[in-house]
């Protein structure tokens, strides 16, 4: 709190209020700008909230504010190369039926207080979550872990065995590996075992060295407008020769706030990278103003890297007006996805015809079902087809020019998150022109309305979907994911189909890369395209600006060692290890 008070004091000084400087204010050492990495983090507001909470499992936590740099995973995963990168772990092995995953911890790994990082910490984290998921249920991910994992057993200091509740060949990618928003954070047993109420624990006290970290940086000071982490001379990685000492001596993470502000800060070299700019034209403008700023693909379209959230128009499966598949198809034919991408991204976001993001490991599956998509006319903009299907479904145009049946117009509210503010109005206009009385809303309440299924249409991206294997996305349409209206879910299609379930179920037991998966995906997608729970619209790109004024070796198309997005919790840490100073 001392630092916050200092801010308050400084401001009070501006206000003309005489204020005594608190005695003994801590001095931090000065680090040259050339050795400082300044990151504009994800924040809608111009401040960090809850920046004194490093408990990843607490309900109110947000580690994207920069505290993520104080953690490391067992494994990283680079999907561009489909490459698993062992970090705190050295390697893993499976038993024959994928019910036991054994992980070998790297020798010499250590916490920032000098205590070794061991299998006990991993096992403690697992067992803490399992216990919580079966009991108090107030830690994040706990219920998920408890549903999947029986227990974690310490074999020896460097070996932990994770015993699963069912054969799960994907488990390595669900909990031990960190990529996008997946993976667990490991907590030090020697601190956490004595904590009574883990949900109320913040694991934050700079004086005590909390949060303890295994990474090369630990938190030096925080306030609501910046999180500062300094490099530790005694980082285990350099000591053991596992990895050279990173060049980044200090990391400052500031709340980006409004996008314009982020752009301005990049243009004036105040920050080195930031969260997603989204708009490719804005990126071009930024790169024109500051040629030192680049993107994953430079100035070449799509000026960014693919994201795991392709945009779709979801039909709320609980809304009776979508009971007739002809109406859903009619709406699909009314949408001109090409025009959507033209208007929202000058055509730089690819049109999508499937629910999968087009990551390299998933491209074979997207391509493998193209013939089915074509058979069902997926993605064809055809107003005549809309007209025909609506008439077949018993609708007629009313005096306002909108399709109606029994006095009720087809359409209604279409909610979206503010992130999709560009797409929503375009879709609305296209649908209106085709005779659907649709209105787009993106309010602070929209996320809840969508998740609770309280509107007929939703514009959204896939959450919890696939990255390197099609199962996760397909499971979103599995009837076990079906949630009644009023209970929140990200699987907003509220879709269920027994035939679809039968096609998906066997994939659970098949390891990623199993050639039998393709047949199951085709069977499932046959149903999906036929039933059309949503209309795929476009792929989504992260347009991450990277400033080469002070730092180089950012991840790029030709040097794709990691996706550059800063809004995923662990990948920026990996990037920070790899950055090279200019001076």
């Amino acid at each position: 709190m001392r630092i916050n008070r200092r801010d308050a004091m400084a401001l009070a000084g501006v206000a003309g209020v005489a204020a005594a400087w608190p005695a003994g204010a801590q001095e931090t050492r000065t680090v040259a700008r050339g050795r400082t990495l300044i990151v504009g983090g994800m924040a809608e507001a111009p401040t960090w909230t809850n920046f004194q909470n490093a408990n990843y499992y607490a309900a109110g936590v947000d580690l994207r504010n920069g505290l993520m740099y104080a953690s490391e995973p067992l494994f990283w995963y680079n999907l561009f190369k489909d490459e698993l990168i062992p970090w705190l772990a050295e390697g893993h092995s499976w038993n024959g039926d994928f019910t036991q995953l054994t992980i070998r911890i790297r020798a010499g790994a250590a916490w920032s207080d000098g205590r070794p990082f061991t299998a006990r910490d991993v096992a403690f984290t697992y067992n803490m979550l399992i216990e919580n998921g079966n009991g108090a249920k107030n830690l994040r991910k706990a219920v998920d872990v408890a549903q999947r994992v029986e227990r974690a057993v310490v074999v020896d200091d460097r070996t932990v065995r994770i015993e699963l509740k069912f054969p799960d060949p994907r488990h390595l990618f669900i909990h031990p590996t960190s990529y996008y928003a997946h993976g667990l954070y490991w907590v030090p047993e020697h601190v956490w075992k004595d904590v009574e109420d883990k949900a109320a624990f913040t694991f934050f006290d700079i004086a005590k060295g909390w949060p303890l970290t295994t990474s090369a940086w630990s938190v030096a000071r925080v306030n609501q407008t910046e999180i500062v982490l300094d490099r530790r001379a005694d980082w285990w990685g350099a000591k053991t020769g596992f990895h050279e000492m990173p060049a980044v001596e200090r990391i400052v993470v500031v709340p980006g706030g409004a996008r314009d502000r982020v752009v301005q800060m990049l243009a004036t070299n105040q920050i080195d990278t930031a969260a997603d700019i989204q708009d490719p034209n804005l990126m071009l403008e930024l790169m024109r103003r500051n040629p030192k700023v680049t993107s994953f693909t430079g100035t070449k379209p799509p000026i960014g890297n693919l994201d795991w959230w392709p945009t779709s128009l979801y039909f709320n499966g609980a809304d009776p007006q979508w009971g007739d598949v002809r109406v859903r198809r009619a709406i699909m034919h009314a949408i001109n996805a090409q025009q959507v991408t033209e208007v929202t991204s000058s055509g730089m976001n690819d049109v999508s015809h499937s629910p999968f993001p087009a990551f390299p490991p998933l491209v074979p599956f997207i391509d493998g079902v193209k013939d089915i998509a074509r058979k069902y006319g997926i993605g064809t903009f055809d107003v005549a087809a809309t007209e025909r299907l609506m008439r077949e479904a018993g609708y007629a145009k009313d005096s306002g020019g909108f399709w109606a049946k029994d006095g009720k117009r087809a359409g209604g509210a279409m909610h979206g998150i503010p992130l999709l503010n560009q797409v929503g109005p375009v879709l609305q206009q296209q649908l209106r022109r085709a005779g659907f009385d649709v209105t787009f809303f993106a309010t602070p309440d929209s996320r809840r309305i969508m998740m609770n299924g309280e509107c007929p249409l939703m514009v959204f991206g896939h959450n919890g979907g696939s990255i390197n294997d099609p199962l996760a996305t397909l499971e979103m349409y599995h009837s076990k994911s079906l949630t009644p209206v009023g209970r929140p879910t990200f699987f907003m299609a509220r879709f269920s189909n027994a035939e679809f379930d039968r096609a998906v179920d066997p994939i659970v037991g098949m390891a990623p890369g199993d050639p039998r998966i393709m047949a199951q995906v085709r069977a499932a997608m046959e149903v999906w395209y036929r039933e059309l729970p949503e209309v795929p619209i476009q792929q989504w790109y992260h347009r991450i600006p990277m400033n080469t004024t002070h730092w180089t070796n950012w991840p790029t198309e030709t040097n794709a060692y990691m996706p550059p997005a800063v809004n995923f919790e662990s990948t920026p840490v990996f990037v920070a290890y790899k950055l090279k100073p200019v001076a």
Partner: protein, 332 residues
Amino acid sequence: MIAAIAGRFAMLVLVVWMAASVNFLIPRLADRNPVAERLAQVAAQGGSLSGIDEMVKSYEARFGLDRPLWQQYLGYLGDLARFDLGYSISNYPMRVADQIALALPWTIGLLGTATLVAFAVGSILGALAGWRRGPALARLVLPAFMVLSAIPFYLVGLVFVYVFAYRLEWFPTGGGYTLGSEPTLTVGFVLDLVGHALLPAFSIVIASIGFWALAMRSMMVTIEGEDYVLFAEAKGLKGWRLFWTYGVRNALLPQVTTLALALGKVVTGAVLVEMVFGYPGLGNLLFESVKLNDYFTIYGCVIVLVLTVAVTMLLLDLIVPLLDPRARRRAS
């Protein structure tokens, strides 16, 4: 006198209690669950919503949201009486009092300063324009400021940001101070703070000078016609002396009353300015917590607002009669 103060204080408590009750109820009218919303938002980062229902129940119990509304209301009043604002729901386990303590200095620093500057400049301008022998210039520029005062200051702010920050690049586009700089009480840092506050402050000042000037001018016009001024003039008092001691001093008192109220409102009315300029103040805190329906933080912000305005009113009621003989006579 003591009885009067006690009575006035009882009135304050009554108004604060009623305001607290109304504002307790309003967020509850929305069909929203702050726990579920926050958990869903966090889960959106983590990709999984499994087990969210159980978590919601667990946290509702923790925050006492599972109790009947009247029990929650009584608990709320009890906490309030002890000045305990509780925990933020969406930023648990952060305390609401800490959130407010973080936001308040920014708001007071920017809006407080700007309001005071606008008040000072506007009052002097208005006084000069209202004084018969004041400079003609004051009368000439006054209409321009009055027209500007019709325009909300966030619009003025938008124009300034575009012209001075984006086009001319004379000022930063937003924020409280230069990123990565050390927040220390050095001349350099304070200058940096001032540099960041200048543009937003300037747009507030420009857009509100007219308001103060107009009020001051009409007071001056009235006062100039009063007998004591004519008398002082007849006694041969010199222009400037007359202006300050008889004109400004007497016209200022109602202005100060308005100023106190304006300063009370500074605490809230700032969401848009803070948003346009990326300033991390109380308006921003209120906006964010309203978006997530974080009851406890909303209550905290509103209570700060209610208390500021109510206490300002109380102080005014008690102090103005001491300063103003006219009001003293009215009171007796």
